[in-house]
Structures are given as structure tokens and as C-alpha cells.
């Protein structure tokens, strides 16, 4: 497998979603390619940063409007 092949499969590799033979080929490439190893690590890290990012709290006015709407609907349309 060459560098282009690694990049094409990088997402599946990170997700553990690769055929074992392809995975082995990819890892063999990583053993001697520093650039690809770095790109795999940084892509994995990018996903981690994204997963770890916390939602900002709902602005109070948005939250109040949401709950007002919900109450109105629930009270008018009890199920």
C-alpha cells in the first residue's frame, strides 16, 4: 500500500472498520512512513478534540421559549 492508499482508508482504519488484510498492509506502510503515521495520529486527535468538545449551554431566552412552547402544546394536546 502507498501513501495515497493509506489516506483513502484512514477514516475506516481509525473506526476499526478495515478488512484484516488491508489493515495489515496499511500498518506495514505506517512502520516506515513517518508522514502517514503523523497524519493518522493527527486525524485521530482531531476526532478526539471534536468528540470532547462540550455543547455551550442553551441561551436562557431560547430555553424559556422552548419550554413555553412545549407546555402550550402539551396542555392543548394531552396524549
Amino acid at each position: 500500500m502507498n501513501c495515497k492508499g493509506v489516506i483513502r482508508e484512514i477514516s475506516n482504519y481509525i473506526d476499526g472498520d478495515l478488512d484484516p488484510v488491508v489493515k495489515q498492509e496499511l500498518e506495514r506502510h505506517l512502520e516506515h512512513c513517518e508522514d502517514c503515521t503523523m497524519i493518522v495520529d493527527q486525524t485521530r486527535k482531531s476526532i478526539e478534540i471534536l468528540c470532547d468538545s462540550r455543547p455551550v449551554s442553551l441561551p436562557t431566552d431560547v430555553r424559556d421559549r422552548l419550554h413555553t412552547q412545549l407546555r402550550r402544546k402539551i396542555n392543548h394536546d394531552p396524549s
Partner: protein, 207 residues
């Protein structure tokens, strides 16, 4: 009904009492439903904001998503996590609004031609680590602004898969597209995000 302050909850963690709450809400207990809303409103608003990129649309989509969820609670039979079900409804509401604003602007299921855009350009190490350069809240802001800059078709898939942590199959189901369409967009989205972060972290290290 009370309006408890929501506590952020990772989507992959389901609180033990959730099935009971859902059952209670299904039988008409409005405060049980509002408790569920309180648990997920921050995350659902983040999702609708991430998809629409517009505060007004994000709020409308979130409101309609919770109202629809309430109206269709009887159709939720626990085949998936309650949150995943909610995300599907909210993603649909948000997508409808995005499509209205940008008709014919993006396609989630057209094949992507060629792979010439895949090869990385930024090949510098992240040294020092981003965590050594920035506070957590700053990193959150940086990554969020880069996600906003991604093209619609990449951003939407990335958000469902790597922010909301839906599986590839759940993402495909939520968007009504094929697994291969999800994977090809996810690959590009992740590589583009790495590229943007890399450029930023390199500059950060130089400053």
C-alpha cells in the same frame, strides 16, 4: 412542570432511569418528557446549530423536533437509544430548513468525483500539543469554528458521526443515504478538519 437545569450528558452514556422516564412520558406524564428535554436540549441545539449554521433556524428546528418527538412518542419502541431517535428527528428538521435556505446547494448522496482533494498539504507536527498551547474552552471554540467552515455535505456527516457519536449506520439512516456516501464524506470531512487544525496549531506554535 419544573424546568431543571440540564446536566451535560455524553450521548454514549444512557442514564439508568431513561427507559422508565421514556415509558412514563409515553403514558402522558408531561414532567417526565420535560425531564428528557432538559437532559438533551443543549446537545440538540448544538446539533441544529451545527447543521443550519443559523441561530433562528436552529431554534425553530430544535423546538419542532421536541414537539414532534412528543407527538410521536408512541412510535418510539426502544429499538435504538432515545437520544439517537431524537437526533434523527432533529437532524431532519434542521436539514429541511437548510435546504429551504440553500435549494440545490448541496447533495448528501451524489458520488464524489475523484480523490485529488484527499492528499494532505499540512505536514508539520503538532508540537507543542494543542493542550499545551490552548485552554480547553479555546480548543472547543477553534474546532467549532472550523467545523462551521466545512461544506454542508461534509459538516453534516461529521457532526452526526463525530460530535453526536452516531454509528456509521445510524448516520446513514438518519440522513437517508448509503453507507458509502457517509464514509466518503466522513473521510473528506475528517481530513479537512485535520488540515485546518494543523494549519492553526502550526501558526499557534509560531506565535
Amino acid at each position: 412542570m419544573t424546568t431543571p437545569k440540564p446536566h451535560p450528558l455524553p450521548s454514549s452514556v444512557v442514564r439508568d432511569d431513561e427507559p422508565l422516564l421514556v415509558a412514563s412520558a409515553r403514558s402522558g406524564n408531561a414532567s417526565a418528557f420535560e425531564e428528557l428535554v432538559g437532559r438533551y436540549e443543549d446537545k440538540i441545539f448544538r446539533l441544529t446549530s451545527n447543521i443550519t449554521g443559523n441561530r433562528e433556524d436552529a431554534e425553530d428546528a430544535m423546538q419542532d423536533a421536541f414537539l414532534k418527538a412528543y407527538a410521536h412518542l408512541k412510535d418510539f419502541h426502544g429499538e435504538s437509544r432515545f437520544y439517537t431517535w431524537l437526533v434523527r428527528i432533529a437532524a431532519n428538521e434542521a436539514l429541511m430548513r437548510l435546504r429551504k435556505r440553500r435549494p440545490n446547494h448541496f447533495s448528501l448522496d451524489q458520488p464524489i468525483a475523484g480523490d485529488s482533494d484527499l492528499m494532505p498539504r499540512e505536514l508539520d507536527e503538532w508540537r507543542p500539543n494543542p493542550e499545551q498551547l490552548y485552554a480547553k474552552s479555546e480548543i472547543d471554540k477553534i474546532v467549532s469554528s472550523f467545523v462551521d467552515q466545512l461544506e454542508d455535505e461534509y459538516r453534516i456527516v461529521l457532526v452526526l458521526r463525530d460530535v453526536e457519536e452516531l454509528s456509521t449506520q445510524e448516520t446513514a439512516d438518519a440522513l437517508g443515504i448509503s453507507l458509502s456516501a457517509v464514509k466518503s464524506r466522513l473521510l473528506r470531512a475528517r481530513l479537512k478538519l485535520r488540515e485546518k487544525l494543523s494549519r492553526h496549531f502550526r501558526q499557534g506554535a509560531l506565535n
